[in-house]
Structure formats: C-alpha cells, structure tokens
C-alpha cells in the first residue's frame, strides 16, 4: 500500500467512524411481551435496573422523561441501566418514534407488544400494579425486585435508593 492510498484508507475509516457515531440509535429497541420483558431484565443481571412504563399521551410520563435520562447519565458508570417500555396502542407507533426522536433518551426503549390480555402482562411484571401510568420498578444487581413506584417517579428519593443498591456489591 502506497503512502497516498494508506492516507485515503485512514480518511475513509475516520469518515465511517464519524458516520457510525452520528447515526441515531434505533428509537424503539423492539417489542416485548411478558416473556420478552423477563428476558430483558435477566440480560441486565449485574446492573441495577430501573424499568419505566410510559405512554406518549401520559403527561407525567412525558414530564419525567428528561429527568430519567439525566439520572441514567449520572449513574451509568456506577452500573445503573434504565429501560423504558411504552404501552402505547399499536396505532400510535409513529407517535412513539417521534417522541423518542425528540427526547433522545440515554436509555433503550421498547414497546409493549400489542394483542393478548394486558392483565397477563401487568401481572407478569408486578402483581401489585393496577395498570396505572407512569409506573417504575427497581431491581438490584441480582435481578431481584426491590421497589415499585406508582405515578411520577420521585427522582431524588429514587436516586438515593438506586445509589444504595449501586454501592452494594
């Protein structure tokens, strides 16, 4: 390889790397049913996980989204993984994608699979959950459910709880 062609290859590699870095992550990471939800939590074993259920039409859900994103950034290195799950109707797929494009959250988001009985999904996630939104569940590093939050997440209190779990080995 001549010096000239070597430079061209290096330049191309830089351009490709820059392109990859700039490429937006897919707004919706996939669809989840109850089994898929359990697999997603299991994959994150070793991390403290906060799952947040939301919908585009839910005002408190939209309001807390930027705070969740900031909390993810603050605690990523320590091992926090936030997972978002939209419960929007299938007919609102475009609205979900538009919302995520605008928000650019620092955590992956899934959409609850349409069809089936919502009660089966709700019960599989958390027996005490009545289906209200937003709803968040905190898991420790072993994947054990620690706490659930009905309604808007009290960020300061939740982060305190999260940091305790992150500090535990």
């Amino acid at each position: 390889m001549t010096r000239k062609s070597g430079r061209a290859v290096t330049a191309l590699l830089f351009i490709c790397a820059a392109g990859l870095a700039a490429a937006p992550s897919p707004p919706v990471s996939g669809e989840l049913d109850a089994a898929g939800f359990r697999e997603t939590i299991a994959r994150e074993k070793g991390h403290v996980v906060l799952v947040n259920f939301w919908a585009t039409w839910c005002v408190p859900c939209r309001e807390e989204f930027p705070d969740l994103s900031k909390m993810q950034e603050r605690n990523r290195a320590a091992g926090l993984r936030i997972v978002g799950v939209s419960t929007d109707f299938a007919s609102q797929k475009a609205a979900v994608e538009k919302f995520l494009q605008a928000m650019r959250p620092a955590f992956p988001n899934y959409r609850k699979k349409s069809g089936g009985d919502d009660q089966d999904f709700i019960d599989a996630v958390e027996r005490t959950w009545g289906g209200e939104l937003p709803f968040s569940i905190l898991y420790d590093r072993s994947g054990k459910k620690v706490k659930s939050f009905s309604g808007k997440l009290p960020i300061a209190a939740a982060e305190k709880e999260i940091r305790k779990l992150l500090a535990a080995s």
């Binding site: 919908a55 039409w57 839910c58 408190p60 419960t87 109707f89 299938a90 007919s91 349409s114 009985d117 919502d118 009660q119 709700i122 019960d123 959950w129 009545g130 289906g131 209200e132 939104l133 937003p134 009905s150 309604g151």
Partner: protein
C-alpha cells in the same frame, strides 16, 4: 397502670393510621357511600341509587385519557342497554386537571346521558383507592361491591373483545349467579389527585 396507658395510646394511633390508609373495598364489602352533584346540577347519592336499582356501575373516567376515551361509545351503549335491565351507570371524574364544564361538554359530545360527577379533592377516588381511568365498580342493590376492574380486555379494538368482563359481571349478577371474575386489570391513566 402506665404501661396500659401507653398501650392504649399506641392502639389509638394504630387505629387512626389504618383509617387514614385507604384500600380498595374488598369484593363483597360495603361500597363507600358518597353524595356528589352531577355536572348538570343534580344531587346524587350512591346509597339511594343502589337501593332503587338492581346495580350501580361506578366508573372513574376522564375527558383526556386515551384509554378512558377508547371506551366512550362502549360506556354509552352499555349504559343504555343496561338501563332497561335496572342498572344505573354513573361516571366520576376525579382529575384535578379537568373541570366540571369540560366533563359536561365531553359527556354531551359522546352522548353520555348517565350521571357524571366531579369528585372535589378526589375524596371518592381515595375512598375506593381508584388509581386510574377507566376503572369500574359494580355495586349491588345491598350497596356491596361485586366487581372491580376494567370494562373489557381490548381497549384498542371494541370488535376484537374476547373478555367482556363488565358485561359478564352484570349478567351474572342480574341472573343471581356467582360472578366468575370479580377483579380485573388494564392499563390506564393515573388519576390526577390534588
């Protein structure tokens, strides 16, 4: 005697604390009574209506929640169909973000002729521990809760309903048969409390 006094104070404190902690009325338990004014200015008493009907369906609803709004036509049709069978449907709007004028205009827009009430301070929602809209309760003529939960399992597609839970509960109650599924769940919008 001093330890007895301490125990008495503790017992009173516990009783007060449990009275302050609302829980959903159990199936078969007395439904919390309430008196409210409908958005078109009439007074409404659950106890009186329960006595004069075979059942009352208390529905926590919203003007803005897509899940509640997905059931607007079903609420209208069921209220009309079951009125002939002696069942009264009643809507309660406990959201602090939706006023009486909005509830009235929403009712007119969707042909809801059943009583609809605002719930100032979400006291009725608290008494029932209702968390989201839509949530429905079936109250029998004795004022007891017989069913709590969703209208059916398919909020998105009325034609695709496979589990018409409220209809099943009402039909069983009216036929004097046990209700097979007395509690159900579905997604919904959190009630916006004060």
């Amino acid at each position: 005697m001093r330890p007895f006094r301490v125990l008495l104070v503790l017992a009173l404190l516990c009783a007060a604390a449990s009275a302050l902690t609302a829980e959903s009325p159990a199936i078969g338990a007395a439904a919390p009574d309430f008196q409210l004014t409908t958005v078109d200015g009439k007074s409404f008493s659950l106890a009186s209506e329960a006595k004069s009907h075979k059942a009352v369906v208390v529905m926590f609803i919203s003007t803005q929640c897509p899940y509640s709004n997905a059931y607007n036509d079903r609420m209208r049709d069921m209220a009309s169909a079951y009125a002939a069978k002696g069942v009264l449907f009643a809507g309660i709007n406990s959201n602090k973000t939706e006023d009486a004028a909005a509830a009235l205009s929403h009712a007119r827009e969707h042909g809801h002729t059943f009583p609809i009430m605002k719930d100032p301070g979400n006291k009725v929602a608290d008494a029932y521990d209702a968390q989201h809209t839509p949530t429905v309760y079936v109250i029998d003529a004795q004022g007891k809760v017989r069913y709590e939960g969703r209208i059916d399992e398919n909020s998105e597609n009325p034609k695709g309903v496979t589990s018409p839970d409220l209809v099943n509960a009402l039909d069983s109650l009216l036929a004097g048969k046990p209700i097979a599924k007395t509690t159900t769940k579905a997604f919904g919008c959190s009630i916006k409390r004060v």
